[in-house]
Amino acid sequence: MQLTQAAAEKRLNDLKISDLPIMSIQPKITPVDRDWYQKYCGICREFMRSLSDSVQELAMMNLDRDEFMNLLMGREIPDNLSIRFRIPLIWGGKLEVENLFMCFTFPQSQNIDRFIIEQSGNETIWLPNPVKKIYMPIHSTISGNGGNAVSDRLSQMAANIASNRRAP
């Protein structure tokens, strides 16, 4: 059944990803290159390396130091994180860093899969399109020690707050 924007947003709310921005597309099956998978792996690594500009989001993801470094070096994606296409290749999306975003695998990426599959066969498909490279739900329940990345970040934020307070 074709979803209106309101119906799509309601479904996202049911799936507990209500703060995820969406865009609509008219999917047209597009042939993909034979070597798409090799290129996909390369683009994913490039995307990981590009996340050095998203340290603030990464600091909230409870990564230990090794996971953090492996991610930023483009070596390995940490546990329970997924890289997703904004527009899938088969629907005309490009194999470019700008066409990717990252989110938790369980439950968010799994629920995004469900959201897209439920629209299968529709003329217009609503797809997630987060503002930033990393999507984190506002009410993320992940918590933990977090390692140096978090503690450094929090120390820095605390210092900023303290200096702002001292300013006349």
Binding site: F106, D113, R114, I116, I117, E118, I142
Partner: protein, 145 residues
């Protein structure tokens, strides 16, 4: 056809993470619950796998187990029943059970134990397997970017 031992050896050499095996009683409970939601019950190859591990992870490739597993402090990987219980509204999965996934594909078995690879956009069948261990291997290796 690959043997279970060959399958495990390949995964070990690639650095897969194996969850601890669960008591056989868990597998029986999972089968009863899968029947209740009219999904396919566990075929022999899965029951045999669950005797030696309770799920497998390689990068973003997952084979779901009879219990949740994962690192402390991270959201757990759901068990095979939890995952399929959330998918009962998807008509293309009628009579099938999703046993694995990676960032691009889902993997199912039917009541005869036949495995298929589906895309994660419309659950279209992309590949059918004669060898279930080959299906599980594709699922896991596809998760290793």
């Amino acid at each position: 056809m690959m043997t279970q031992q060959e399958f495990i050896e390949i995964l070990k050499s690639r650095g897969a993470v194996f969850a601890a095996p669960q008591p056989i009683g868990k597998t029986n409970i999972i089968n009863v619950n899968l029947q209740k939601i009219r999904a396919a019950t566990l075929p022999n190859f899965v029951i045999e796998l669950y005797k030696i591990c309770g799920g497998i992870k390689l990068g973003n490739g997952y084979i779901f187990g009879p219990s949740e597993f994962g690192k402390p402090g991270k959201h757990p990987v759901p068990n095979i029943f939890q995952l399929n219980n959330e998918l009962t509204n998807l008509t293309k999965l009628r009579g099938k059970t999703v046993f694995g996934k990676n960032d691009l594909f889902w993997f199912t078995f039917d009541s005869f134990g036949n495995c298929t690879m589906l895309d994660n956009l419309g659950l279209n069948v992309l590949r059918k397997y004669d060898d279930p261990y080959r299906a599980m291997l594709d699922c896991l290796i596809g998760g290793k970017i």
